[in-house]
Amino acid sequence: MIEITYFMQRVIAGILFVLAAPLIGGLLEGIDRKISARMQGRKGPSILQPFYDVAKLVKKQLLAVNNLQLLLVTSYFLFMVFTGALFFSGCDILMCFFAMSTASMFLLLASTSTHSPYSTMGSHRELIQIMSYEPMVLLTAVGFYLASDSFKVYEIVQSDRPTILFAPGFFLGFVFILTIKFRKSPFDLSTSHHAHQEVVKGVTTEMVGLQYALTELAEWYENVFLLGVVGLFFVSSNPWSYLAAVIAIAVVYFIEILIDNVSARVKWQLMLKMAWGMTLITGGLNLFILDLIR
């Protein structure tokens, strides 16, 4: 009986994510745009502006370069929703990261299927970005395993002490690659949220109307999932730890916005070196120490 109710709880958490993540993701982007504008001395749009934008995009004419692109963009969206639903229903975190990589692959394929020079260039850069952050993403899963002896999210949240106590290095490394995942300066190589970047719009160059709305929505789902992983570092069996997780998420998100506004884009060589160096120093060192004391 207890087993069944617990299973139901997990299913409900997954469904709640699917319903609430676009709202939270959209609000986060609205807040991001507002804070960024204030940092640059502008007034900035309303916090609800991302929702207006997506609503407008959905209602516009459906223009796809080819049918394949439409299928791939839809797959990107569905896999991103799937990734988050897996995570919030407490499944295997390794599985979540693999599903996320699959989703990124679909975005890449959608971008290359158009044969446009700008989106091809964007996809080359997106590949390099994936290469830069993927080692740290996998190491993060290892960090969770070493700290709580399980890859399962529902077992990690029931551990006596939060993961951050054992894996501060993994946490730092993960926050570092979040800048790449959120497409923030200085690592917004493949596509950017700012209009002034040189490669027009990178991977999303050839996406308009409904397709662009889907990529935006997928990004909101992805952001909520990634911030969920940040929160997972702080969650333990103590109910107060959830408050700590929310505060940590807010702080990390603010730091990402700050970094976005005070740094200029770097070349891909430097990004790769920095990301791998950071992975080796933070993740590697933490892994080494955990291995010694265990």
């Binding site: 407008k56 209602k59 004419q61 459906l62 223009l63 160059t205 308009v208 109307g209």
Partner: protein, 119 residues
Amino acid sequence: MHADILLITGGINSQNEAVVKQIYSQMPDPKVVVAVGTCACTGGIFKECYNIKGGVDTTIPVDIYVPGCAARPESIIDGVVKAIALFQQKHEDYLAYKKAKKKGQQAEFGKTAQKEKVV
């Protein structure tokens, strides 16, 4: 990348004609075109040149004309404000058009340009 309103600031010649046409066709409906400056409106002093076709409306339908050489900032702002109002109106027209199409009725959209002038 996505565009709703297209601002063009120069005349049409045989080199850029295809480019302008392509950009216009890449924008999903509903869309608004604003021609900024005398060159974009009519071809201006280059009108008689052998390679110039004329204003932007020789190639794609123009909704709002902002004259002036150079166009004053105030009139450009005025043109953009008018374009936003027109975009909202076109948006509603487009939704009505899609509804009618769904019901199988005869409907037309985007066949005529607004041809409004900012003074």
